[in-house]
Amino acid sequence: MNIAIVGTGQTVHAKRRTDVSQVGLAREAVVEALADAGLTMDDIDSIVVASGPVMFAAVNQPEKWLVDALGARYKPVVRVTSGGGTGLAGALTAINQIKGGAARRVLVVAYDKLSEGALQASISTLYDPFWGREFAVGIMGFAAAYWHARITALGHTEEAAAHVAVKNRHNAMSNPKAHMKKEVTVEEVLASRPLCWPIKRLDVPPISDGACAVIFAADDDAMAITDRPAWIQGMAYYAEADNSADRSMLQSEPLQIAAARVYKEAGITNPFRQFDVAEVQEPYTCFELSYYEGLGLCPAGGAAELVMSGATSMGGELPVNPSGGCMGANPIGATALIRLAEAAMQVTGKAGDHQVPDAQRALVQAGGGWANLRGVAVLGAEK
């Protein structure tokens, strides 16, 4: 059985969407995805809701509220949550529902309305209340510590990371859904205010309100819905326990495990050459460098050279984040599904002004938690 993405939709992402509630935001993306697929809610067998941690917006199990806005009464609705990578975890749930015979057409909707909650305070509750929370490091603190280690061990310099910011913020200029549209230079990134050194203001994406919806179907169902399905050639989502003694953050082990598995499924042996485009979820610029190595796009220690060569810019051999990535819009719970939707748009030629010409195969990376949940997917114009 081959499963495809047959429709995608995204809201206009913004710093603060005061015109809609959480459920209105989700509905906006769903309406667009249904229109893209030429379907109505009556055609949908099952709905998977993927959103950021519930404390972000202070509504417990918000999928229960979404039911009314989506017209999902009496359908199966389940919420899957996995931090920032939750959209990809939700997509994997949908794929398993179809493969397992429980549904034929599954809608996944992911969203976050971060303007309505205390984000950093909620994120800090990730940590163990007895021995982890006292440090109050949030996400930025540990990310900075690990980046510092990678600067020393792998040469992921501040300048290389600045190139990621410049590239992604430039790409976002061509994405009509992007929230942040302002070009920056390497010098501006390096001179921007340190928030938690080496992370500086312009290494950090915006915080957004936004939603994304994606519709999945298999084989003949997919072909009946659209003449341009984006076929899923592989998808996996792996975890790493926080308290594992052998955990190394120089390279992400769950990312390497997920990539190895998905590449095997998709027949990828030389990722840099075999992919035409990649969409990765970069909560800070330093993460994109780390992903290049974890995904095998370059050898360990090669990420700085790769980004500075321009190979991952638009027009390069493997453009990474033509959408602008998280630098363009960062509604955390939706960002992973946005990466998947953007990859689907690329391989179906629907990406408009940020289309990579003739993209046939796309790589997707997403993740969440404290960088311990990592997912990878491969999409193709062909099965």
């Binding site: 417990n60 229960k64 899957v80 794929i95 179809i98 034929r104 909620s122 790493e240 308290n243 938690g369």
Partner: protein, 378 residues
């Protein structure tokens, strides 16, 4: 429903901690690892043989964002595929079953846990309500259950006193259940007679408890190899109702009916009378009657008949959710109880049932329902 070449999936073992009003001397990870370790014990499988982990728990109850992150080690999920289903554990089992049936994996560990003693349970329930219309008017889980109960009792021609039989049966069964920390049926006057949300009394409402449950599921070839009596998952269905309480049917649970229909259909068009054992979840005595009716185990407004004299079906021999409701894990505990009885595991041999119906619920005022059918080979 698609007819695809899916694989048969079985529950080969399961385990739970004692359900207790407060596990004050043990943390979440202690409860989770006890259940997970016991679920593997005796199967010949080790944690390395498990392909993936699907878990249920609540960030709100745990007081932690992405709380599964903190428990991955105790769940044995290190370097495995893992997903958090933030619904009752029966939905997590649903996910795991699909993953194996579709051929994506062979062995899965399903875990659900709850530690409401560390949290404010009232906040858990009221935070489920959308914040604009229902939350500001002071609706809570008690008043919602009371409003539903008033309508149900009036339509059924029952009184609040009639509900005592439901609660007494549940607590008496819990006393016999070594997995529940109840030694005697409560006798105090307030418990049985004091209104908590007219017409409901304390005895009519589910009691939140701490606990964890873990279940090992795998594809047929492995199940046949490691278990003398695998419990086959034959059907699954789930459906959700609208969120707004006032928009829902007043005296029935159509979402539960839809979930049951889907499960019966998937299990080869079985009918309610094909099942010897029912383990169901409910937030109140009236909720239990409404679920029985939605499952087709009683005519509308006749759920009470099961508690008046002998019932043809064994209903909640574990005691069900009224004496012990580990919120988020309740449905998976029902599955553990039912599967253990069908398999005739030690301590559960008393019944010769071979088909069981298992029900889980979630959301405010039982908005969401999941039904799973299981059986053992005759």
């Amino acid at each position: 429903m698609i007819k695809s070449p899916t694989r048969r999936v079985a529950v080969v073992n399961s385990a739970q901690t004692v359900l207790s009003s407060s596990w004050s001397d043990r943390q979440h990870i202690d409860l989770i690892s006890e259940a997970a370790t016991q679920a593997l014990k005796g199967t010949g499988l080790r944690i390395d043989d498990v392909d993936f982990v699907i878990d249920s728990g609540s960030d709100f109850l745990d007081g932690r964002s992405i709380s599964n992150c903190g428990f991955l080690g105790s769940m044995g999920a290190h370097h495995k595929e893992e997903s958090r289903v933030e619904e009752d554990g029966l939905w997590a089992l649903n996910y795991a079953t699909n993953k194996i049936a579709g051929g994506s994996a062979s062995v899965g560990l399903v875990i659900a846990y709850s530690k409401p003693s560390e949290s404010n349970v009232d906040d858990y329930w009221t935070s489920l309500l959308e914040p604009f219309l229902q939350r500001p008017i002071g609706l809570d889980q008690y008043s919602a259950a009371g409003l539903i109960a008033q309508q149900y009792l009036a339509a059924a021609g029952l009184t609040a006193d009639d509900l005592r039989a439901v609660s007494e049966r549940a607590w008496a069964n819990a006393v016999r259940n070594s997995n529940v920390d109840v030694d005697v049926v409560p006798t105090d006057e307030a418990f049985w007679n004091e209104d908590i949300a007219t017409p409901l009394r304390r005895a009519d409402m589910a009691r939140p408890v701490d606990g964890a449950v873990a279940m090992l599921v795998c594809r047929a070839e492995i199940a046949d190899e490691i278990s003398s009596r695998p419990v086959w998952i034959t059907g699954m269905g789930s459906a959700i109702d609208q969120h707004f309480l006032a928009a829902r049917a007043p005296t029935s649970l159509p979402a539960c009916e839809a979930a049951a229909r889907a499960a019966y259909r998937m299990s080869g068009d079985t009918s309610p009378s094909d099942y010897d054992l029912v383990e169901l979840s409910a937030n109140s005595t009236v909720g239990e009657l409404m679920v029985l009716e939605a499952l087709g185990q009683a005519e509308a407004f006749h759920g009470i008949d099961h508690y008046r004299g002998d019932s043809p079906t064994l209903i909640n021999p574990s005691g069900g959710a009224l004496p012990a409701d580990p919120i988020m894990a309740t449905g998976l505990v029902r599955m553990h109880e039912a599967a253990s009885r069908l398999a005739g595991r030690t301590g559960y041999e008393s019944n010769d049932a071979h088909r069981a119906l298992v029900h889980g619920t979630g959301g405010f005022g039982m908005q969401n329902h999941c039904v799973v059918t299981i059986e053992v080979d005759a």
